[in-house]
């Protein structure tokens, strides 16, 4: 029997396989299915500060605009309690999730203002989250602000939240740092217990008929795992004390194995589960276990990081030299 247990964010998990934030973790019925299928922890959908506030405002505005405007109608809608929407919805989901499943529940926050980050992180920690994941992503669109300034802002957020929140803290990064490893180290110093590589997000698309911008997001493809693999391996070697989680592009137990070999303590999945359903997680676990057995690993720990940068025969394989080789080996398009 292979020992699949892993430690992530100070939490002992039955396996490294975590269901990351997706619509599936936003509903209790699918959340239960995920855990029944083997998820060792769940990350709830991110609480986006601007979304919470914009949504609250939108609803309030729509309901309020025509209230007490006409003699015949004091308003146009029944009196609803939206206290449960927005942040309260997240708190309610968190409470329900904690009641429904017995694996760690990780709450995710994406803030805009320093006040927003801390307020919502605190709220969710107080509501019983086993850990908080700070979803650090904003488009650095200001031509007057340097990468250093952007990084400083992020680090301040981590420090601020760390000072207010006692539960373990993970930071989920975008792949767009000039020096990802350096930032990961500073994030850890600022108080992050783990780094999650990487987040995916809506990107603009253009509707050619209307010439309008339409943000879109697609489910990930297994090929996208390559990027986190590289950085897992690089960071694992340099920051041995920091928790690492892989996300993006893990679509099978074999993908999970690769992430673990590169150094991940935990492996997160969303697209594959959205595509095949929550039950698919059981298959991924069997694949991972089968591979570990086949490779004669008794524990996940043995495999973890064994193909990380210092662990691999060719450390440069994770660096630029490999970039050239990969391109060169790319199959030519057939005519």
């Amino acid at each position: 029997m292979t020992d699949l247990t892993t430690m992530y964010l100070g939490l002992r998990l039955r396996t490294p396989l975590i269901a990351s934030a997706s619509p599936l973790t936003g509903r209790i019925d699918t959340l239960i299915e995920l855990v029944e299928a083997g998820a060792s922890a769940v990350v709830l959908p991110s609480l986006f500060e601007e979304e919470v506030e914009a949504e609250a405002w939108r609803l309030h505005h729509l309901l309020d605009t025509h209230t007490d405007s006409f003699a015949e109608a004091s308003g146009f809608f029944p009196d609803f309690d939206f206290g449960d929407s927005g942040v309260h919805g997240h708190v309610k989901l968190l409470g329900a999730a904690k009641d429904a499943v017995h694996v760690p529940v990780i709450a995710s926050v994406n803030g805009v203002t320093p006040g927003g980050w801390t307020r919502y992180a605190e709220t969710l920690a107080d509501a019983g989250a086993d850990a908080i994941e700070l979803n650090l992503y904003a488009v650095a669109a200001d031509a007057h602000r340097s990468g250093v300034q952007v990084e400083e802002d992020y680090l301040k957020v981590i420090e601020l939240v760390r000072s207010r929140v006692d539960v373990p803290l993970a930071v989920k990064l975008s792949p767009f740092f000039s020096a990802t490893a350096h930032f990961a180290r500073r994030a850890a110093t600022a108080g992050a217990d783990a780094v999650v590589l990487f987040n995916r997000f809506y990107q603009p698309d253009i509707d050619l008929s209307t010439r309008e911008v339409r943000p879109k997001i697609e489910l990930s493809q297994p090929a996208e795992l390559r990027l986190p693999l590289r950085w897992l391996a690089i960071i694992r070697a340099q920051l041995p004390g920091v928790g690492l989680a892989a996300t993006t592009g893990v679509h099978s137990g074999f993908d999970a194995a690769k992430a673990i070999l590169a150094g991940a303590d935990a492996v997160m999945m969303a697209s594959v589960l959205l595509r095949h359903g929550p039950r698919y997680l059981a298959r991924i676990e069997s694949e991972l276990e089968a591979w570990l057995i086949q490779q004669d690993f008794q524990t996940v720990g043995q495999a973890r990081g064994s193909v990380s940068r210092p662990g691999t025969a060719d450390p440069t394989a994770y660096e630029r030299a490999n970039y050239l080789r990969t391109l060169a080996s790319y199959p030519r398009p057939t005519r």
Binding site: V52, E53, A56, W57, L59, H60, H61, L62, L63, D64, T65, H66, T67, D68, S69, F70, A71, E72, A73, S74, G75, F76, F77, P78, D79, F80, D81, F82, G83, D84, S85, G86, V87, H88, G89, R211, E212
Partner: protein, 1182 residues
């Protein structure tokens, strides 16, 4: 303290008791009673129990007739039942009221008494509805204050069970139903003590049950009917005593003493006024003041009106009384006097009280003000040697001379602070004042009163809030006329309204000014400056819009202005203002989420910090001269409409008004409201002449004209135009012009404009721009544009979107909401058929924006022709429209007969040409008009005779008319469905246009049978569980009815086509038009493009069912593609769906799955229909 009293309006005060004491509540929306039903529905949905611990069943019916039927059944089943209604609703209940009373079934109807429609509809309060129910055998109890509405609700429920006689409990619509006041709430123990369990059980025992069967509702013959009718007499005789007993018991429980008839005033009064309802307050105040200055007057308040307590009334009168004025809040034309007057006369006669002169007065019809100066005038009339027997109070009747002259100098003293606030419906002023007055009541323990007046517009409605608060109970049920505090929340209202007339000398004036304090003075209108100086007002300004915008509250300035009011009115110690207001905001907006609370709290801090005194210069402002009267306006507009617009309608004498309710059309154009902050500006360089901007405009404020280049003569500099690109009218120019003072700035035209700049995708051919910056240029442009001749109708292809938009709209500048989804359809009708259009309009939004004074948007063309419009009722519109059609058909037949008879005079060729005329085209219609002119000319040349006169009168009927029966879904799907169905089955050539907003929009968004499954609406606050009725399917079932389902925003061409086909179809046509509405909870600026999603998701399939005479034809034409997106992609953008998603996600999810199945199933069915060949062709002949 909160537990000791409640701050509620009359509707809530009554509904709390009605709900607690009922098991079945049958409801239907009608102003001003709707909130009672809404409360009951919301409480039931939330699981609130009644007095006995069960949750009442609340059911919305299809009409008040239905509600009465359901109530009848419920009480006969042995349950406790109630309903709420007003006006026409009560009239629809009459048949069942006779039954319920005849069967001695306990029941209570709570009525917010309202005027019954006569020469016009009015939503406002009087007793004409309850007086029409006098004969039904229901007991009638009248309350006159919010507290009484609460107490008498209990008395009615208790007394009906004790006496078995059903009770109408009524109070004055709006004045009491909508007035916020402080009440001592009745406790559950109070209710238990008065509603005796034995009475409830006795009622239960009489229930209809197969376990102890009885027969009710028998048919009786002449032998016994009469005796049986008299058999109930003892029960009626017992009512006054029973009610008096309940009053006594209530007094012992609460200390509040009422009696069947109450007297107040001098014990030796010589003059007395008798009345009931909210007017008692003004009468009592007047009597107290008159007696204080040495007169001997009194007021008799009647509580129980039926059974009439004659003995008690006579006993209540001091023996010294010599003159009585009986006031009725109703009018019974042709009667010997109004009901209460006659009852008093009879009571005095029957009880031998002689030597008293009694006069009858009518007052307060449709919420006409009733004030102490008027009561004083009435008492003065009673001192005349020969007082007039019948008078009117509150108007100037210069026709029959009935009116009494109020003593305008008369004032009653008050210790209350009085405040008046002028605002717009959209700025939240009323909401803030509702919260504010409750706060004052809660934090000061003072008595409070809040009353709110709205104009009849939906976009840009002006609101005036009247607040009173003070140490004494407030009985002044009339508007504040001397204010200690005046706030103007909209700078632009200073020009339009006499805001400061109401301010007392030395009053405080708060102004929301977009200008800095130091710059505000010179920006004020001269009359305002003059009044400020003359009255020595203490003025303060705040830039509320800037603050609201900066703290993230958009255009909602309510919190800012409320904070300033609290700071200035010294209601609370200065240091408590911010904490108290912040705590209130936290409670008020807790349901809306923390960010909303925070933004409002930030607004409080900013408001208090930025409120600035206004420096008033010492040099006096000159008296402004009278404004020159516009001399181009029709007489009626100058004489009447202008006065109404100036808010001086109360001053118009009887002679100024039409005797029969017939008003000139086309008056909306005289009202320039300049509502928009931004208006659309046209860039001709990229325009593609498509007409989309014009076709979607709800207010006809964007117009397109095509004209000969010579039309540009005299154009203002830079008047924009381009070459017209159509195949017809070659060489013409085209201009798209905004009416800058009529546009509401909704932005729909910009949203739909398909012409996008190649260099900048954010720039279109129509773009919103600052109204402030563009009005000066657009005003002369619009005036010039109006003078450009209209295009020749025959020269335009009206079967295209583009062509239709070159035709003159004859529905313009209505008061409909910004972005209204209904008006574009009606406007299009007027473009296509306006000069021969007759509209029967069901009551609802369309009758309000179409026909509510002061103006009407239905307009005329250059020839003076235009839509002829009439509203009968809510429930009868289809029948009413059919009647109009039948009358017309008869006239056409008669004209044909006369033509045949007068052929020698008219000429055989002309007669033949008229009878054979093709009137299906504009050219054909024009030719027929020309022939009719010839007929007139030839007839005029002849010796006048009866036949000649008849034909001259009817000749217009020879030009084909088109009849459109128009209304909302509340009419078509619910209350008017029976008639609609019958008319569809009549085979007659009428067209029914359903403006389907999927709720009762006008009364505030209550569910109808058109409401879709899963949407939350009032009366369906937990989300509507059943699917929308497929009205089109019912109509199609007749086989000879043209049916179309359209959505202008989704497919404009299909809309144009459907309306034209419907009009051309010689039998009945039904067009169901998807009408986006503020009750959907969407961004109205994108409401038209949002309709595309409605169609693409299969939510609103477009089709036309054209019963064709051709064998093998496929009458059902689907005009939409198979759904390309799930329903949720449509519903998620609408608050009516998404609010349920947030408040009850599980139920929302369940209902949405069912709703998706509805869509799938319907599409599947329609696809099959589309493939079906008609095996039984119809000729379509009526």
């Amino acid at each position: 303290m909160d537990d000791e009293y409640a701050l509620v309006d009359g509707n809530e005060a009554a509904a709390r008791i009605a709900y607690a004491l009922s098991e079945v509540v049958a409801i239907y929306p009608i102003t001003p009673a709707s909130p009672m039903g809404e409360f009951a529905d919301a409480w039931s949905a939330a699981g609130r129990p009644n007095l006995w611990g069960s949750v009442p069943r609340v059911v919305e019916m299809q009409s008040e007739a239905g509600a009465a039927g359901a109530l009848h059944g419920a009480v006969m089943s042995g349950s406790l039942g109630t309903s709420f209604t007003a006006s026409q609703g009560l009239l629809l209940m009459l048949p069942n009221m006779f039954k319920i009373a005849g069967e001695l079934s306990p029941a209570v109807l709570h009525v917010a008494a309202r005027a019954v429609a006569t020469h016009a509809l009015s939503i406002f309060g009087d007793h004409s509805d309850v007086m029409a129910a006098r004969a039904t055998g229901w007991a009638m109890l009248c309350s006159g204050t919010v507290q009484e509405a609460h107490d008498f609700a209990l008395v009615a429920h208790a007394a009906t069970l004790r006496t078995r006689v059903p009770f109408v409990h009524f109070f004055d619509g709006f004045r009491t139903s909508h007035e916020i006041g402080r009440i001592d709430p009745l406790s559950r123990d109070d209710l238990r003590n008065l509603v005796r369990e034995d009475d409830v059980l006795a009622h239960r025992r009489r229930r209809l049950s197969p376990d102890h069967p009885t027969l009710r509702g028998s048919a009786q013959n002449p032998d016994v009917f009469f005796q049986a009718r008299e058999a109930a007499n003892p029960y009626y005789e017992a009512v006054p005593t029973a009610v008096a007993d309940v009053f006594d018991e209530l007094a012992s429980l609460t200390g509040r003493r009422y009696d069947l008839v109450e007297y107040a005033g001098a014990p030796d009064a010589d003059r007395v006024v008798i009345l009931m309802g909210s007017g008692v307050g003004a009468a009592t105040e007047t009597v107290e003041e008159l007696n204080r200055i040495g007169e001997r007057t009194g007021v008799v308040t009647l509580r129980l009106f039926r059974p009439f307590p004659a003995a008690q009334l006579v006993a209540a009168l001091p023996s010294t009384v010599r003159r009585i004025a009986v006031l009725d809040r109703t009018k019974e034309p042709g009667s010997a006097g109004e009901p209460l007057y006659l009852d008093v006369l009879a009571a005095l006669a029957e009880h031998g009280r002689t030597g008293i002169e009694v006069i009858g007065g009518r007052y307060g019809l449709a919420s006409k003000e009733f004030t102490p100066p008027m009561v004083r005038g009435l008492f003065d009339e009673l001192t005349q040697p020969l007082p007039r027997r019948h008078v009117t109070v509150g108007i100037v009747d210069d026709v029959t001379g009935t009116h009494i002259v109020p003593d305008q100098s008369f004032r009653v003293p008050t210790r209350a602070t009085q405040a008046v606030f002028f605002g717009l419906g959209s700025d939240g002023t009323v909401g803030a004042n509702k919260v504010g007055i409750k706060l004052i009541g809660r934090h000061t323990g003072q008595h409070v009163q809040g009353y709110f007046v709205y104009d009849s517009r939906k976009a840009g409605a002006v609101t005036v809030s009247h607040l009173r608060f003070g140490p004494d109970p407030i009985r002044s049920a009339y508007l504040v006329d001397t204010a200690d505090f005046v706030a103007c929340h909209q700078f632009s209202l200073l020009d339009r309204m006499k805001v400061l007339d109401v301010a007392r000398p030395g009053a405080t004036f708060l102004l929301n000014s977009p200008y800095p304090a130091e710059d505000t003075w010179r920006r004020l209108p001269p009359e305002v400056r003059r009044q400020i100086q003359e009255k020595g007002l203490d003025c303060h300004v705040v830039d509320a819009y800037r603050i609201a915008r900066e703290v993230g509250l958009g255009g909602r300035i309510n919190t800012v202005m409320q904070s300033c009011f609290f700071a200035l009115a010294r209601i609370l110690p200065a240091e408590e203002v911010a904490p108290v207001l912040k705590a209130a905001v936290a409670t008020e907006y807790a349901k809306r989420g923390e960010p909303i609370v925070e933004r409002n709290q930030a607004a409080i801090d900013r408001a208090l910090a930025e409120l600035t005194p206004l420096c008033v210069p010492v040099e006096k402002e000159a008296e402004p001269g009278a404004l020159p009267e516009p001399d181009l306006e029709p007489n009626f507009v100058r004489r009447v409409t202008r006065r109404l617009l100036a808010g001086e309608g109360d001053l118009l004498p009887v002679s100024a008004l039409p005797v029969d309710g017939a008003f000139p059309s086309g008056t909306a154009r005289y009202e320039k409201r300049a509502l928009a902050q931004e208006i659309p500006i046209w860039d001709p360089s990229i325009c593609i002449d498509c007409g989309k901007c014009a076709i979607v405009c709800p207010h006809a404020a964007i117009r397109v004209k095509v004209y000969d280049p010579s039309g540009l003569d005299g154009a203002p500099e830079g008047f924009p135009h381009k070459n017209f690109s159509g195949p017809e009218l070659k060489g013409s120019l085209l201009t798209v012009q905004v009416a800058p003072d009529d546009c509401t700035g909704c932005g729909i035209c910009v949203d739909v404009c398909p012409a996008i700049s190649k260099s900048d995708s954010s720039h279109k051919s129509i773009n919103l721009a600052s109204a402030l910056e563009h009005r000066d240029r657009e005003r002369p442009a619009w005036e010039f544009f109006e003078r450009i001749p209209e295009v020749d109708r025959a020269a335009v292809r009206s079967d295209t979107v583009k062509g239709s938009q070159l035709l003159q709209p004859l529905l313009e500048f209505s008061g409909a909401c910004a972005g209204c989804g209904e008006t574009p359809y009606l406007k299009l009708l007027t473009q296509l058929f306006g000069d021969r259009l007759i509209v029967a309009n069901a009551t609802g939004c369309s009758s309000i924006y179409g026909g509510n004074l002061p103006t009407t948007p239905w307009a005329r063309d250059q020839a003076g022709r235009g839509p002829a419009w009439a509203n009968s009722l809510f429930e009868d519109n289809a029948e009413f429209g059919l009647g109009l059609r039948l009358g017309y058909e008869q006239q056409v037949d008669e004209a044909h007969r006369l033509l045949a008879q007068l052929t020698p005079t008219v000429g055989a060729d002309l007669v033949r040409a008229i009878l054979d005329a093709d009137q299906t085209t504009e050219a054909g219609l024009a030719a027929q008009r020309e022939r009719v002119t010839q007929v007139r000319d030839r007839l005029a040349a002849r010796e006048p005779g009866d036949d000649v006169q008849r034909l001259l009168e009817l000749a217009d009927a020879l030009v084909r008319k088109t009849f459109w029966i128009v209304g909302g879904d509340g009419w078509a799907y619910d209350i008017g469905f029976g008639g609609l169905d019958h008319v569809l089955g009549s085979g007659r050539d009428v067209n029914l246009l359903v403006l389907d907003t999927e709720v009762y929009s006008n009364t505030g968004g209550q569910a109808s049978k058109a409401t879709p499954r899963g949407a939350a609406a009032k009366f369906a606050s937990s989300g509507k569980a059943t699917p929308k009725k497929d009205l089109g399917a019912i109509a199609r079932a007749y086989g000879d009815v043209y049916v179309a389902q359209i959505a202008l925003g989704a497919n404009q061409m299909q809309t144009v086509r459907a309306l034209r086909e419907a009009e051309a179809w010689p039998g009945p046509s039904l067009v169901i038009a998807y009408s986006t509405c503020i009750a959907h909870g969407i961004d109205m600026a994108t409401s038209m493009s949002h309709q595309k999603t409605a169609v693409a998701s299969g939510y609103w399939p477009l089709y036309r069912y054209h019963p064709s005479p051709a064998e093998g034809a496929r009458p059902f034409q689907l005009d939409a593609k198979r759904p390309t997106m799930p329903l949720v992609d449509f519903t998620r953008d609408e608050a009516r769906f998404s609010m349920l998603e947030r408040s009850d996600p599980d139920r929302a999810d369940h209902l949405m799955r069912l709703a998706q199945a509805d869509v799938d199933e319907r599409w599947h069915y329609y696809e099959q229909l589309a493939a079906e060949e008609r095996s039984l062709p119809t000729t379509g002949e009526p």
